[in-house]
């Protein structure tokens, strides 16, 4: 089964991660510092990296920036609530997802599964024309979206937003990543415009837009399209 690299300086959290992850059949390699993590990475590449941002010999972000764009190993950042800014920086720097401490084992496993799935999907050639996530069926060439079998009419921008989210179901996409996918490489802050389009999209695909089931908001970070799990 897959090997995971855990970069975390707190021995207690490492102990919990070791117990929980080996219990689910993963092989664990541990590193308490950036230096140890680099040494482990030089030895063998893991399938997923769990990365704490505050490490004794530096910021976990530097490790992340060293990995991108040469490698696509999924990186899940471990951080505390109230550090939304750090999460956004990490995600924009190429992290795949984040877990807010404290987190439960279920949440941890779900994120790792999503990360592994994306890592697999990345290897298999061009992106699919047809996307199926939850009740959504997206036909990219025909620009058609059905929700639970019903055709929904989306504006081109709403369509692009949905496609970007559906390409990586379960994974959080930051405002900046979404804006780049929709408008290209733009420098201005378009988070407000983006919010308005997402709100419009939600009204078309969610039965109760103020209590979304699929297109959920991660406050201060971005959006996530939940799959079936």
């Amino acid at each position: 089964m897959s090997t995971l690299l855990v970069v975390e300086d707190d021995p207690h959290l490492r102990r919990f991660l070791r117990a929980a992850l080996t219990g689910h059949g993963y092989t664990i390699v541990e590193a308490a510092t950036l230096a140890e993590a680099r040494a482990e990475l030089a030895r063998a590449l893991p399938a997923v990296i769990l990365l704490d941002l505050g490490l004794p010999d530096g910021d976990g972000l530097t490790l992340l920036r060293g990995l991108r764009p040469e490698t696509t190993i999924p990186v899940i950042v471990l951080s505390a609530r109230g550090q939304e800014g750090d999460k956004v920086i990490a995600l924009d720097a190429g992290a795949d997802d984040y877990l807010t401490k404290p987190f439960g084992a279920g949440e941890l496993m779900a994120r790792i599964r999503v990360a592994l799935r994306h890592a697999d999907a990345r290897g298999t050639g061009p992106p699919a024309d047809l996307l199926d996530v939850g009740p959504f069926h997206i036909d990219q060439p025909r620009h058609e979206v059905t929700v639970s079998g019903e055709l929904v009419h989306l504006t081109p921008i709403e369509f692009k937003i949905l496609v970007e989210l559906a390409r990586q179901p379960g994974r959080v996409i930051t405002h900046r990543q979404l804006a780049r996918a929709v408008w290209g490489d733009t420098s201005g802050d378009q988070s407000h415009t983006l919010r308005v389009h997402v709100a419009a999209l939600r009204r078309k695909v969610e039965p109760t837009p103020a209590r979304p089931r699929w297109l959920v908001t991660e406050a201060g970070v971005g959006y996530r399209l939940r799959g079936d799990e």
Partner: protein, 630 residues
């Protein structure tokens, strides 16, 4: 990915003293609209080199540009306008600031006006032309204008006498000597209106001309009788008397104008400095008013904890020596520098800002070396210094009071935190420790139901701990001066995000939603999510199903309601928002921080929160926020 730096404003700099004002004005314009600016000077090829004094002036202007944070471009070319425009186009300049010429028109007729060519060739670039002195004439340099006007006065006095003499010669046969005396008196009176000097010139010339041309023997300066001497004496006397009166009147008039202008300037300054809230504001207002009043560079220096005296505003090109003068003025609480008893050769005049026996800072004024500050100007500067002292003392008091209040809040928070840690945090820890050790030590003896119970209590109380800590963290952040970073967020999205995070806690509870679809809130999305989470958790804990969340616009406010159908509010509902207050201690665990956090965050957003009775039973918490559009 940032846009390439655009240089919006370009100021043309030369050796003329007007340039200094152009630079300051451009700097001010750029600062007011947060655009960029630069300065350019053009050296014309084939033109005679500048005089040493002009070159020095030009360099000091360029230094001023750099000290104000502007970029300096030295250009070369055959004609100033063409070179300037080419440079402006190349750098995306949108506006050029130039000075009105101070020389007469004849030079333009000869060489073609620089401004005309500049404006004609500017195309889409705007050209701003600033007059040499747009504001009220400076108080300090009024005397320069008097002397210039003087030459014209002498010419007029001489001309008047010449006209009278001509008139007398033409009509000599028809007039008596007494009539001629009258005519000369008119000329002397007219000359006297221009001041003492022209009056004496007019009187002397009149006496001479009268004697030479009309008094017998004519065309000699010989005087033939006492009557003539008397006439001369009367002419001189009249001249002196009238001119003395004129001079006195004029001086009074000028003093009145200066005083009036000074009073108005002081009034404007007092009004503006009174509304300044911080030390840099006070310093900026003071420096600006001094610069406007005297058309020179002014700076306000205040003591800094580590770096000694530093300029808090209006940083001109203050050299080290000038700072040393300011230091002396500050330490000795006396005026120093330019034209004073101490360090008179310095270019800057430094006036300490005194509050009682304590120096709060120093005003430094620095202009061309020729600028002098007369008695009136010094009085004005002293008055400004006194007002600045009052304002500085006031903002310091306010800052100290604010700091004290913050310290008190922090202190209060610390003590409540201690009580919370010692009492409320230990309870869930006790549960977790107890349950976990039981599981570890007696796993074999436990039946599956008991084991499930213990595991559930570990999970529940760990979550409870996390909630308490999260709330404490938010409360500490908001109450110790943390400023929310607000954005315009759809109300649906905030409500949705909070409900998503509470999914497992809400479980099967019914939640009725009535959120206006196009309603947007001006909020910090992360902080405000906590408001909704805490209100909903509060309703889940103390209220009853179903919950109702509503958001609507009401006039210039946005109302956000979280209501339940539970037992309703306790009698002293306003205390609910205090820290560590619980509605019903017996039934629900928790430290009672949730609503305190709600109030702290809502207050930081400029809003209010109220606990109301839900019509039809239960409690209703209403958050009211001001509306703001993007």
């Amino acid at each position: 990915m940032a846009e390439p730096p655009r240089l919006d404003l370009l100021v043309c700099v030369g050796p003329s003293p007007t340039s200094e004002r152009l630079i300051r004005e451009t700097h001010r314009m750029a600062a007011a609209e947060a655009s960029t600016w630069s300065a350019a000077t053009v050296e014309v090829t084939n033109a005679p080199p500048l005089a040493a004094r002009d070159r020095e002036q030009l360099e000091s202007h360029l230094r001023l540009v750099e000290s104000l944070g502007g970029e300096v471009h030295r250009l070369h070319g055959a004609a100033v306008p063409e070179v300037l425009l080419a440079h402006a186009r190349a750098h995306g300049v949108t506006r050029i600031v130039a000075g009105k010429p101070t020389h007469g028109r004849w030079r333009d007729r000869l060489g073609g006006s620089l401004l005309d060519t500049l404006i004609r060739g500017s195309g889409s670039i705007e050209v701003h032309v600033l007059a040499p002195l747009a504001t009220a004439p400076a108080l300090a340099i009024a005397h320069q204008r008097d002397t210039r006007r003087g030459w014209r006065a002498y010419a007029l006095a001489i001309g008047g006498v010449a006209i009278v003499t001509g008139l007398g010669l033409a009509t000599f046969d028809a007039l008596s000597l007494a009539d001629l005396t009258m005519l000369y008196l008119i000329a002397i009176a007219a000359g006297s209106l221009f001041g003492r000097g022209p009056s004496l010139v007019a009187a002397s010339l009149s006496v001479a001309a009268y004697d030479f041309c009309f008094v017998a023997p004519r065309f000699t300066f010989a005087v033939s009788g006492v009557r003539q001497l008397l006439t001369f004496f009367v002419m001189f006397g009249c001249g002196i008397a009238i001119s003395t009166l004129t001079v006195r009147l004029r001086r009074q008039e000028r003093n009145a104008i200066v005083r009036e202008r000074r009073t108005a300037a002081l009034l404007a300054f007092t009004r503006e400095v009174g509304s300044a809230l911080t030390e840099p504001d006070v310093a900026a207002v003071t420096a600006r008013h001094l610069e406007d009043a005297f058309d020179i560079a002014a700076a306000v220096l205040v003591p800094h904890a580590t770096e000694g005296l530093v300029a808090a505003a209006g940083l001109g090109a203050l050299a080290e020596r000038e700072v040393a003068v300011a230091r002396w003025a500050f330490d000795h609480q006396e005026v120093a520098g330019h034209e004073t008893a101490t360090l008179a050769d310095a270019r800057a005049l430094c006036v300490p800002i005194l509050d009682g026996d304590r120096a709060l800072g120093v005003l430094a004024l620095q202009g061309q070396p020729t600028v002098t500050f007369d008695r009136d100007a010094r009085h004005f500067i002293d008055a400004i210094a006194r007002q600045a002292a009052l304002a500085l003392a006031h903002v310091r008091l306010v800052a100290e009071a604010k700091e004290a209040a913050l310290r008190a809040t922090t202190e209060e928070l610390r003590s409540s935190l201690l009580s919370a840690v010692s009492h409320d945090l230990r309870t869930p820890l006790a549960v977790i420790t107890g349950a976990a050790t039981t599981l570890r030590d007696r796993e074999a003896e436990l039946d599956p139901a008991a084991r499930g119970e213990l595991l559930a209590s570990i999970v529940d109380d760990a979550r409870r701990l996390e909630r308490v800590l999260g709330n404490l963290l938010q409360l500490t952040r908001v109450e110790t001066g943390f400023r929310p970073t607000c954005e315009l967020v759809p109300a649906e999205e905030v409500v949705g995000a909070a409900l998503t995070r509470l999914e497992s806690a809400i479980g099967e509870w019914r939640v009725d939603l009535d959120v206006a679809p196009d309603l947007a809130l001006w909020i910090d999305p992360v902080l405000f999510e906590q408001v909704l989470i805490n209100l909903v958790e509060n309703a889940l804990k103390h209220g009853g199903a179903p919950l109702a969340i509503a958001a609507r616009r009401s006039g210039d406010r946005v109302e956000l309601d979280v209501a339940d159908r539970g037992p309703g509010l306790p009698p002293d509902a306003t205390r609910l928002f205090d820290k560590f207050v619980r509605a019903s201690t017996a039934t629900a665990p928790g430290v009672g921080l949730g609503l305190a956090v709600v109030r702290a965050i809502v207050t930081a957003h400029g809003g209010e929160v109220a606990a109301l009775a839900n019509p039809g039973g239960g409690a209703l918490f209403r958050v009211t926020l001001p509306v703001r559009s993007a």
